[in-house]
């Protein structure tokens, strides 16, 4: 008797509880949020910071771009278009190296006016070495900015005062930026949050220009100039922003707020979505992509994304990997189409080149195709006919299921096509990063996401000694092209130089491109105007929610 009671009791409690809960509304979180005009967005991880001059990650970018607005903003559909932000208009001189911005009549969320001096202060803040802004190099395109930074961080460097730097507030509403050289894509760079302003009064009240204490970004202290302002921030739980009534274009802002949920597990996030607690997810579990594509195609989106997945090859080792023919043989024996179709299934594009497609005016040439015959010929020419005598190398990847699956597939392809044996080895993320940067690997999995929509962000990293090169590869002509391209003036000439650089990279193959990323995510049908964007950069003021039955 007692035993039965023990088992029945919890069930009765559960049923009673359900009745109690059932008395409330049966609306899902999304339905309630639609009524309140609040977007519920999965945002992967807890934001490290909300400071645009300290931040580096994608989840931070999602939040900061709702709170802050730079001179130029994101366009709702076109990544290469210029959407007015804090600058009502701007003009350049004939040479194209001096930009004059006219700041609009805008207010900070505490009522202060946004002035050209605020921008002057903000850029001086990034260039303050003690702040340790990781994106400081973005500002080095400005005349004397690098020298100013160095003079403050290195005692031996010549002193450069702020007056010498090419950033001037000519009056309250006019900001002039002088560049090192003409740069047609400079306005595009301004969309990046490292160029966003902060309110100098607020920064000074909470530690000053060089302080990283983060006091100013806490709820109650935070002041923004974008379409939204900070409402709530609970670590690992939620960050909520609400509509900023003082925003200059508040009438256009349709959402009343956005809740960012830091959901690290893709499976949990997918369950939240199915449970009606999220409008949008940050990712989709690999094994669910097919299911959604077949059963709920309206809920899954596989948008193009400006990122490249590739293998680095350590070319500094003595032995076959330093032989370009061997690297070519490896690259030609990867059947990318089959990998995308049968293994990844997430709509990725096979990478026959390195720079992803989609950048206006830049097209990569198809360098690599699946060519087993040529691959075998090259390997034989290098002294390893049918893979005989080829050393056992390792593919290194950071511990994750999809990297493992890809590595296993490629291991198999190389075995079948070239007759060589490769081992695969996984390491925890930070150990893997350490091994990669100290060149303690043979072949290593890697990926690169663009900072801004331009091939330069992909190609610059493979110059000699670049911190992100990590292959030991070096080519003089390549370095020269990368150095000269930004000075080329017009995009046509610049892209031609970058095309040549990419050709050199794809001829020498210190990297083996595998695929071009896509951005898979789940989206509720009530979210409107969520257009494909190459870097998932959104101007949230244009997003709106449709209530069911409307």
């Amino acid at each position: 008797m007692t035993c039965q009671r023990v088992f029945i009791a919890p069930i009765i409690i559960l049923i009673c509880f359900n009745l109690f809960v059932g008395c409330g509304s049966k609306q899902t979180g999304v339905e309630r949020a639609n009524e309140a005009g609040i977007l519920l967005r999965g945002n992967q991880s807890e934001p490290k910071t909300l400071d645009p001059h300290v931040a580096t990650g994608v989840p931070e970018n999602h939040i900061i771009t709702t709170l802050m607005e730079g001179l130029i903003a994101y366009h709702p559909t076109d990544d290469t278009a210029i959407e007015p932000g804090m600058a009502e208009s701007f003009e350049t001189n004939e040479a194209g190296d001096v930009y004059t911005f006219h700041i609009r009549d805008a207010k900070w969320s505490n009522g202060d006016s946004v002035t050209a001096h605020d921008f002057d202060y903000s850029y001086r803040r990034i260039l303050t070495p003690e702040l340790a802004c990781e994106y400081v190099t973005m500002l080095f395109v400005v005349k004397n900015a690098k020298k100013y930074f160095e003079s403050r961080s290195d005692d031996t460097a010549p002193v450069v005062t702020w007056e010498k730097v090419g950033i001037k507030a000519l009056d309250e509403k006019t900001l002039q930026i002088t560049l090192n050289a003409p740069m047609a894509y400079f306005p595009m760079m301004l969309k990046h949050y490292s160029w966003f302003p902060v309110n100098p009064r607020v920064i000074e009240a909470h530690g000053g220009i060089s302080s990283r204490n983060g006091e100013w970004m806490k709820v109650g202290n935070h002041v923004s100039n974008g379409p939204f302002r900070l409402k709530e921030w609970s670590t690992n739980q939620v960050l909520e922003v609400e509509k900023n009534p003082l925003y200059w274009d508040a009438d256009t802002v349709k959402l009343n707020g956005i809740r960012f949920l830091p959901v690290e597990s893709a499976d949990t996030e997918e369950r939240l979505f199915r449970n009606g607690q999220l409008h949008l997810t940050y990712m989709v579990p690999l094994h669910k992509i097919d299911l959604y594509k077949n059963k709920h195609p309206e809920k899954i989106r596989l948008d193009p994304y400006l990122g490249s997945y590739f293998y680095r090859v350590n070319v500094t080792q003595e032995g076959p990997l330093s032989d370009k023919r061997v690297r070519r043989a490896l690259a030609l024996s990867i059947d990318r189409e089959s990998l995308m179709k049968n293994v990844l299934k997430g709509g990725q594009t096979p990478a026959h080149f390195y720079v992803p497609p989609g950048i206006n005016g830049y097209t990569s040439i198809e360098f690599l195709s699946f060519d087993p015959t040529e691959a075998r010929r090259l390997l034989a020419e290098a002294g390893f006919p049918d893979g005989k005598g080829f050393p056992v190398y390792e593919i290194l990847y950071n511990t994750r299921d999809d990297h493992k699956t890809i590595a296993e597939s490629i291991q198999q392809m190389w075995k079948q096509t070239l007759g060589i044996n490769i081992q695969i080895i996984n390491q925890e993320w930070k150990v893997y990063l350490d091994a990669q940067s100290s060149l303690e690997y043979d072949i290593s999995r890697a990926g690169w996401i663009a900072d801004y929509v331009d091939p330069y962000t992909f190609l610059e990293m493979f110059t000699t000694g670049n911190g992100n090169n990590d292959t030991g590869w070096s080519n003089k002509r390549y370095d020269e092209l990368i150095r000269l391209a930004p000075l080329a003036g017009d995009d046509k000439k610049r892209f031609a130089m970058l095309n040549e650089a990419e050709a050199i990279l794809m001829d020498d193959l210190p990297i083996l491109p595998i695929y071009i990323y896509t951005m898979p995510f789940l989206i509720d049908s009530s979210v409107k105007n969520w257009n494909p964007k190459l870097l998932d950069n959104r101007n949230m003021k244009y997003i709106w929610l449709e209530q069911s039955g409307e």
Binding site: V21, G29, K48, E130, T235, T268, N275, N468
Partner: protein, 333 residues
């Protein structure tokens, strides 16, 4: 008893020093650092970041600085009850490198209460289920009432929470739609009762594993006690089974459960990483694991230290309860 407690508390000091020293050595010898990332930070910026967090000094200086900062300097019970170590003890666990602008003290103060609530209810539920089930099984030894629940308990011990959690979320969250699949509170909710549905699944999932263990331990403990002479005497006096069980047998039969509870409570109260990940709970367990992955040195040390103190204190508490319950035991250091 006072002397016993005092000696145990004094023993705490060398134990903690050893734990902090070992953790410090281990976390600092792991490859990679807090600022290593796929996109390399320029060398001069890395230098500044290390400077900002005091990571440029020689290791032994960093170690002594840290020790100095974590030394208790005052005692304020009111603040301690709110888990505020800075106000309560003057212990400064330093800034977190992962959570920019937030200190380890703040992170613990914010996340421990969440883990505490989750753990408290999970343990309570586990006891509520485990003890009766174990007792009934012991009383009906070698019958269906024993084999049935015990097999179930074995199953419960073997089934990890990362399997049970998603299954519960699927059944009770997605199919039956009784509870939200994850989250800790109704964001934007007006009443505390709105939060309750969010807490049912994580509490139940976490508790079942421990309930299974408690049931098995209770059964074992009870079986041993039920064969003792004093129980036979009690029965011979004509006392009812209920009185014999509850008043005489249970008190001694629960000894194994109580000694098991010490470390379990510390573990559960300081958070269960897996449950927190599955149900999206902002507790301490996530910091405990993620800090190591992020090489957030101060957060690793802070959570390890906190966990160590908790486990030692709870073991002490268990020892005191054991002596109070069992007259055969005496306080001795």
């Amino acid at each position: 008893m006072f002397k016993f407690i005092l000696i145990r508390l004094l023993q705490l000091i060398p134990v903690l020093v050893v734990i902090v020293t070992l953790t410090f050595a281990m976390v600092r010898s792991a490859p990679g650092g807090p600022f290593s990332s796929e996109r390399k930070i320029p060398a001069h910026i890395l230098e500044q970041l290390n400077e900002h967090y005091g990571l440029n000094d020689p290791l032994y200086i960093q170690y002594f600085n840290y020790m100095k900062k974590i030394c208790p300097k005052k005692l304020n019970f009111g603040a301690l009850m709110k888990f505020d170590l800075k106000e309560g003890l003057g212990t400064d666990l330093g800034p977190s490198t992962r959570y920019e602008g937030r200190t380890v003290n703040e992170l613990i103060t914010e996340s421990f209460p969440v883990s505490f609530v989750l753990g408290f209810f999970a343990i309570s539920l586990a006891l509520l289920i485990g003890i009766p089930v174990g007792t009934v099984a012991a009383l009906n030894k070698n019958s269906a009432m024993d084999y049935g629940p015990m097999s179930l308990a074995m199953f419960g011990i073997c089934l990890p929470s990362f399997v049970l959690g998603p299954i519960f979320a699927l059944i009770f969250g997605l199919w039956l739609n009784w509870f939200p699949v994850s989250g800790w509170r109704a964001i934007g909710g007006l009443h505390w009762a709105d939060d309750i549905p969010y807490r049912v699944l994580p509490v139940v999932t976490l508790s079942l594993y421990y309930a299974a263990g408690i049931a098995r331990l209770t059964r074992g403990g009870m079986l041993e006690v039920l064969n003792q002479d004093y129980i036979r005497t009690a029965r011979a006096k004509g006392l009812s089974t209920t009185v014999v069980t509850v008043k005489h047998a249970l008190r001694a039969g629960l000894m194994p459960v109580i000694s098991y509870l010490g470390p379990v409570m510390a573990g559960v109260l300081s958070g269960s990483f897996i449950i927190e990940m599955i149900f999206q709970i902002p507790g301490l367990g996530r910091h405990f694991i993620n800090a190591a992955l992020n090489r957030d040195y101060t957060l690793v040390l802070g959570t390890v230290l906190f966990y160590a103190v908790l486990i030692i204190m709870l073991n002490l508490l268990v020892d005191i309860i054991m002596v109070l319950l069992n007259p055969k035991l005496k306080f001795s250091s």
